[in-house]
């Protein structure tokens, strides 16, 4: 055995635990899902290979295209709001104001509270009869009667987005705050010495230097939001009338609700393709940013 070959084997031996883990937890289920997507698997013990039939069905019958569009719209608004609110929060938390530490701590609860509890809290707030939001709007004279936010398609759609934003904002804020604090103070002092005001400094120093953090966070948030299941499921289960059914909810309903495992797998594969595209975009962006930093 040559020394090169022995070194290669040794390298594989060292990689083996990680490789076995990835093959078992990621690669095998993914491969199995792809195989399943070409079958008519259901509760029956046996199933047959059906070729592209599941894919043809989901794109021709039903409303899968509508679900895809809805998922993108839902994700777009949710991610955009998280980025905008997260940035505003980071700016405020970064400002030298009294009680800064307290405000930083107060940002965390949505992230710290177990997600299901937070979502149920919002479900109560959206409730038409007992909900705080409806009551508040009525007391302020903005509405004439109770509104059950989760009972109507358009309000339910925005209600699920608001909850997703509420849960997602703390992480974005903290990430942006960390990125903001890594900008050397000297840069701001130099700009101030040159007469640059607060907004000018934000526009010409903070924002350009935050671009890598914004790109990274947007893409990570995009991947997480695109796959967001628990918020919608607990609040609306994809209803009313499918108005909050995103791809992941749709897949779950098909596979676990209708027991059409083969078709559900096909929908899951489509989701995976989108997520893989997002991931490739993310890694390319990270590489480009690193190359930019190295210059």
């Amino acid at each position: 055995m040559t020394s090169t070959r022995s070194a290669t084997l040794f390298a594989f031996a060292l990689l083996a635990p990680a490789l076995i883990y990835i093959l078992t937890i990621v690669a095998y289920p993914l491969f199995d899902t792809i195989v399943l997507s070409f079958t008519n698997a259901s509760l029956r013990q046996e199933y047959d290979f059906v070729g592209w039939a599941n894919y043809q069905r989901i794109f021709t019958a039903g409303n899968f295209t509508e679900v895809i569009i809805r998922t993108f719209v839902w994700t777009f608004f949710s991610v955009s709001m998280k980025m905008i609110i997260g940035m505003c929060g980071a700016v405020l938390l970064n400002a030298a104001i009294p009680g800064q530490t307290l405000f930083r701590i107060l940002t965390m609860p949505p992230w710290i509270v177990p997600m299901a509890i937070g979502i149920y809290m919002w479900a109560w707030m959206y409730n038409g009869q007992f909900g705080m939001i409806s009551g508040l709007l009525e007391n302020m004279g903005l509405t004439s009667g109770p509104i059950a936010f989760l009972a109507y398609g358009h309000t339910a759609f925005w209600a699920t987005i608001v909850t997703d934003v509420w849960i997602g904002v703390p992480m974005v804020t903290i990430y942006f705050l960390a990125a903001m604090q890594s900008i050397p103070r000297d840069l701001y002092e130099a700009a101030w010495t040159d007469g640059a005001g607060r907004f000018y400094r934000f526009r010409r120093i903070t924002m350009p230097l935050m671009v890598p953090a914004i790109i990274t966070m947007s893409l990570l948030s995009l991947i997480a939001t695109f796959n967001s299941f628990d918020i919608i499921w607990i609040l609306t289960q994809g209803g009313p009338s499918g108005s909050t059914t995103t791809m992941i909810i749709d897949t779950y309903k098909t596979a676990m609700g209708s027991r059409k495992y083969g078709e559900g797998a096909a929908r899951a594969v489509v989701i995976s393709i989108f997520v893989i595209i997002f991931c490739i975009t993310y890694f390319r962006a990270v590489r480009k940013l690193q190359q930019g930093e190295a210059k």
Binding site: L187, A190, A191, W192, T193, G195, R204, I205, L209, K295
Partner: protein, 358 residues
Amino acid sequence: MSQLSLKRLEKSFNEARIIKGIDLDVSEGEFVVFVGPSGCGKSTLLRMIAGLEDVTAGEIEIGGKTVNDLPPVQRGIAMVFQSYALYPHMSVYENIAFPLRVEKLPQAEVDARVGAAAKVLQLESRLQHRPGQLSGGQRQRVAIGRAIVRQPKIFLFDEPLSNLDAALRSEMRIELMELHKRLGSTMIYVTHDQVEAMTMADKIVVLDAGTIAQVGSPLDLYHRPDNLFVAGFIGSPKMNFINGRVKSADGTTVTIDLGSLGTIALPRAITEVAGQDVTLGIRPEHMRLDDGGFVIETTPNIVEQLGIHTITYSTLSSGEPFIGLFEGNPDLVESKSVRMGFALEQAHLFDARGLAVY
């Protein structure tokens, strides 16, 4: 009239008094260096002049006008930071043009001023590069360029060369001195490096724990230090100090008992120090290997041969460290006794309070 006046200037951070009542006048066109050990308050003082730190008490006047409450941009100053504070996402051109963009000057004016600064600083070929693509010296020049384009009354430099290697530092030092000559502007320069202070300054301000220990020209400070602190701080290697007690002071001669080193008689027209504990100071470079003057016999623990100089490090019988610096390469070896002497007129004398007696 002085261009900058500091009057009883004080700065405290909570309970800590950092600047303790400083009075200073700087004339137009002067190159003033604030020097002192770490934590002496020199950078804080500069930042107060710049307007980056609030004044706790006292006044800062620039051009006869009190500027305590004015923002930096209205003080007529420009500052060069230790870290250069260049904007990494902007080109060299945009970095230099930044203050002009803030002022919203017309593009033609911006082009003209940036072009002129780039020419002075030899940055013309680098204007489209990013700071990350420049060497340390070039970055330093960009930072200076950003200060130049504002055409300030006073330039403030906060340890601008401390991030450069030794060779580049001495190169940039000369460039800064040439720049000062060319622009003729007032420059205030903070450093902890006494070589920079000695070579660049018209006037050195030595700071010690938030107070001015001495103000004077470099040679004044070297030859006539006011106190032990300045005597020890200015000069490298630092001045040797030998403790003694005055046996007699008759108004023409002070005779000092140096213990096992013997007795020395220095010409001083003073009588008040009689019976006092005093400190004798002698610079290492004033030691000679002949038997002239006052002779000390000592055994070097370490001998450093630098080619141009030879430095010996010894410990006197009284336990005090003693350094000798000799020209060339005399035959000195470690652990071998050597007789070295100094001329009496080269000796410094400090009274019990640490103040110089001339």
